[in-house]
Symmetry: C2
Subunit: 236 residues, 2 copies
């Protein structure tokens, strides 16, 4: 790290509503000369669309082609993205990587962080996670004083989901997509289905809240999640 | 709910850095005629101090005396606070309740929400949780694709802490205070101590990061927490 290299920012930009950026993320976003963001194989550039109104035409943009679901074979994608970003940092330009939600909670930025933070000054700006934003939109207080909250992806096996949910006071199950039926069955088995709340694309313009019993499994998007709030409503 | 009543906001104001308010919380904070905030028995008015520079002199302020640790006996405190807030709402004035971190994650606002949201239009604005802010400050990516994150208070019994931590891929243990030694012993027993990271008052001016082995148990504040990041650093 020499003084002439740029600074890398992992910029949490929140769940979808552009007003849910922090004042800090907003300031950094407008001040950096270079921004980078995931451009998924399925054509989605969600992160950029969230902050589109805040960008300036003179900013350099690095769309990073990334596979939709990270696997071992996604390594080359992150290698290439890291190399592109390192190019600008080495030239002394600050680079902000846009991260939906929070950079360190299931974020693809972590793979870039692990490649670049040893070589360049790096700052991570936390963002509003879709998990907490969903609880807010659903009007569902999550955890009271002695509760444990577990946040887990729906991609887990039925067995692990069952084990983790059986002991959670409150839980949030993310990335539902085609895993909805599996999760629903586990919730019914554990007697949690009545408490479960469902939301799609929290805080985005096309947010949708529907009773979980009415959900059509074939139509559940990736950006859907289930919130199971704590039962301890009566305390205090 | 008639048109003439005011709107209640549960306003997440983040972990301490005033720049970690969202643009939305900032806008609402400046637009409402009435703000309310916890004034703890120990004299701390942390929430107000975070946003002090954003307040306007003409805003009405309602300091709410609340016990530091909610117990069954804290019910009367919340009853009184809810009554005060309801007074302004009934008069048609919007009231924003300041919530450190996120309103629905171990927040005292939940006790007001449960008392008032049935009677008045209520909106909860999510905030940056100290849990995610701490991971960002520590440079600790939390969870990769198939990980489960558990967030739990240090006030839990040794037995429950052991059971929950034994199966967590990543964990955050909050409200350490006088419970530090108990948590430390459990972490050592489970072989998690080497991975554990310690931080006090994340993002506040007096933030302190120290190697967990150097922590003096008698001096651990309430606003200290431990982050145990996932080990799956090598994936992708």
């Amino acid at each position: 790290m020499t003084k002439s290299t740029g600074k890398l920012y992992g910029l949490g930009i929140g769940p979808g509503d552009p007003e849910l950026l922090t004042l800090k993320a907003y300031r950094i976003l407008q001040s950096v000369p270079v921004i980078a963001y995931p451009a998924m194989e399925n054509g989605k550039v969600l992160a950029r669309s969230i902050v589109a109104d805040y960008l300036r035409p003179e900013q350099i943009e690095i769309p990073m082609p990334l596979p939709f679901s990270p696997t071992r074979s996604s390594q080359p994608y992150y290698d290439i993205a890291a190399e592109k970003i390192a190019h600008y940092l080495s030239e002394g330009q600050d680079v902000a990587v846009l991260c939906e939600g929070d950079p360190f909670l299931f974020g693809s930025f972590m793979y870039l962080f692990n490649r670049l933070s040893g070589k360049f000054t790096t700052e991570v700006v936390p963002g509003i996670s879709s998990t907490l934003a969903s609880a807010a939109q659903l009007g569902a207080p999550l955890t009271y004083r002695n509760d444990v909250l577990s946040i887990m992806p729906a991609t887990l096996s039925e067995e692990i989901l069952r084990d983790r949910l059986a002991v959670a006071d409150a839980a949030i199950i993310i990335k539902l997509g085609r895993h909805f039926s599996k999760v629903r069955d586990v919730l019914i088995e554990l007697g949690l289905f009545e408490r479960a709340l469902y939301i799609e694309r929290a805080t985005m313009l096309n947010q949708r809240i529907v009773a979980i019993a009415q959900v059509e499994p074939a139509e559940v998007p990736y950006w859907a999640l289930i919130v199971i709030p704590s039962q301890q409503k009566s305390v205090s």
